[in-house]
C-alpha cells in the first residue's frame, strides 16, 4: 500500500491514484492494481470483477431506490428504510427478470395467466431474505364508451380487475394441472397506469433454502365482477405483445426485487 497508493497534497483535495513512485515497472503497477482490486472485491462480497455486457438494463425501480437512499447524504442508513415494507434489517436489494425463453412455452400462454420463473441462486448463502416483491406494470386503457351493464352492480366494477399471484408448489405433469397456492392478490383499475407490488417473500425464502422447490409463480388476471378471464388482459404487462418495442418491454416487464440481510452489522466502539 505504501508504494502503491499516493495521496497527493497534505490537507488539500486529494485523489486516490495508483502510482509507481518507488520501483516504477509496468508489471508492478499491474500487480498493485490487482491487489487493490481483489481486496476491494472481497470487501464488496464479490468473487471476481464483474464484466457486464454492453448496455445492461438497469431497472428504473432500482435507480429510484438508490436515489431515495442517497436523497439525504448526511443520513444514509446501513439498512433500507422502505415505506410499507417490513424489510428494515435488509441492506441489499437485488433485481431479477424472469427467464425469457419460457415465453415460448405453450402452457404459459393459456388464458390470462402467466408463469414466471426467476433464478435466484445468485443470492449468497450467508444472506437472509427479509423481503421480496413481484412488480407488475399495468398500462391504463382508454375506454371511451361506457361498458354494458349486464346486472344491477354499478358499471364502475367493470373497470376493476383482480391480479392473483400463486406460488407453484408442483408443476403440471402431462395433461394434468399444477398444484399452486395463492400468496398475494390485488384489485386494480384498468383505466390507470401503475406499478403494482406483490409480496412473495414466503415463496422466495423457500426457493433460497431449497432450489428444487423453485417452480416459479403464476400470475392470473380476472374480472372482479364475475371472476372470468379478463377481455383486457393486455392491460397488465404479463408478456411482451408483438407491437411492443424491445426497449419498452425492458421498462415494463415483470420484475422481482429481493431484500436481503448479509448480517454485517455496524461495529460499535467501546468506551
Amino acid at each position: 500500500e505504501s508504494t502503491a497508493t499516493r495521496m497527493s497534497g497534505d490537507g488539500e483535495d486529494s485523489k486516490l491514484t495508483v502510482g509507481t513512485a518507488s520501483n516504477g515497472g509496468k508489471g508492478s503497477k499491474q500487480e498493485v492494481i490487482q491487489a487493490f482490486e481483489s481486496s476491494l472485491l472481497s470487501m464488496f462480497g464479490l468473487k471476481s470483477r464483474p464484466r457486464p455486457r454492453k448496455n445492461p438494463v438497469i431497472p428504473q425501480y432500482m435507480l429510484d431506490l438508490y436515489l431515495e437512499q442517497v436523497k439525504n447524504p448526511d443520513d444514509i442508513q446501513v439498512n433500507f428504510n422502505i415505506r410499507d415494507k417490513s424489510v428494515s434489517s435488509a441492506n441489499t436489494a437485488r433485481s431479477f427478470f424472469h427467464r425469457e425463453t419460457e415465453e415460448d412455452y405453450e402452457e404459459s400462454r393459456v388464458g390470462s395467466s402467466r408463469h414466471y420463473r426467476f433464478q435466484i441462486d445468485t443470492i449468497p448463502d450467508n444472506e437472509v431474505v427479509t423481503g421480496a416483491e413481484l412488480r407488475l406494470y399495468c398500462q391504463g386503457i382508454n375506454i371511451s364508451s361506457p361498458m354494458t351493464n349486464t346486472d344491477d352492480r354499478p358499471s364502475e366494477y367493470q373497470f376493476l380487475h383482480r391480479i392473483n399471484v400463486h406460488e407453484i408448489l408442483e408443476p403440471a405433469d402431462e395433461g394434468g394441472e399444477s398444484i399452486k397456492r395463492l400468496i398475494d392478490s390485488k384489485v386494480v383499475d384498468i383505466r390507470n397506469s401503475s406499478w403494482e407490488s406483490f409480496d412473495i417473500r414466503p415463496a422466495v425464502a423457500k426457493w433460497k433454502a431449497s432450489q428444487e422447490e423453485n417452480h416459479g409463480v403464476e400470475v392470473e388476471l380476472t374480472e372482479v365482477q364475475n371472476s372470468q378471464i379478463s377481455p383486457h388482459k393486455d392491460h397488465v404487462r404479463l408478456r411482451r405483445s408483438s407491437d411492443l418495442a424491445a426497449s419498452e418491454w425492458q421498462r415494463q416487464r415483470p420484475l422481482l426485487i429481493t431484500y436481503t440481510d448479509d448480517g454485517k452489522r455496524p461495529t460499535r466502539s467501546k468506551r
Binding site: L16, Q77, R265
Partner: protein
C-alpha cells in the same frame, strides 16, 4: 515554544479529517458500478500533540499515552490519528451474473477523526 526557537521547524498539523475522493473511473470500475461515480472517502492525518485538546476526540488511554510520550518519546510512540466515526454509502452495481444490486456498505466514509 523551545522547538520553534531552536530550529524554526515547521510543526506538523494536528490530527484532523482530510479530503480524499475515490473515483471509480480511475480504477476502471465505472463499467460495473452504476452509481455513484465515486465517493468522498476522506482520511485522518496529523499529530496528536501533548496536551490533547478536546476537539481531538481522544480516549483516556490516548491522553495517558501522549503524556508518557511527551516525557519518554523514545520508548512510547504518539497516539494514532484514526477515524472515530464512519458512515455508510449506497452503491448500485452489476454483479458477476449481470444482476443489478443496490447495497449499503457500512463504515465507508470518515466522518470524524481522533487520537486513539
Amino acid at each position: 515554544n523551545s522547538e520553534r526557537k531552536k530550529g524554526g521547524r515547521k510543526l506538523k498539523p494536528n490530527c484532523r479529517r482530510r479530503s480524499l475522493y475515490v473515483d471509480f473511473s480511475d480504477v476502471g470500475w465505472n463499467d460495473w458500478i452504476v452509481a455513484p461515480p465515486g465517493y468522498n472517502a476522506f482520511y485522518c492525518d496529523g499529530e496528536c500533540p501533548f496536551p490533547l485538546a478536546d476537539h481531538l476526540n481522544s480516549t483516556n488511554h490516548a491522553i495517558v499515552q501522549t503524556l508518557v510520550h511527551s516525557v519518554k518519546a523514545s520508548a512510547v510512540p504518539q497516539a494514532c490519528c484514526v477515524p472515530t466515526e464512519l458512515s455508510p454509502i449506497s452503491m448500485l452495481y452489476l454483479d458477476e451474473y449481470d444482476k443489478v444490486i443496490l447495497k449499503n456498505y457500512q463504515e465507508m466514509v470518515v466522518e470524524g477523526c481522533g487520537c486513539r
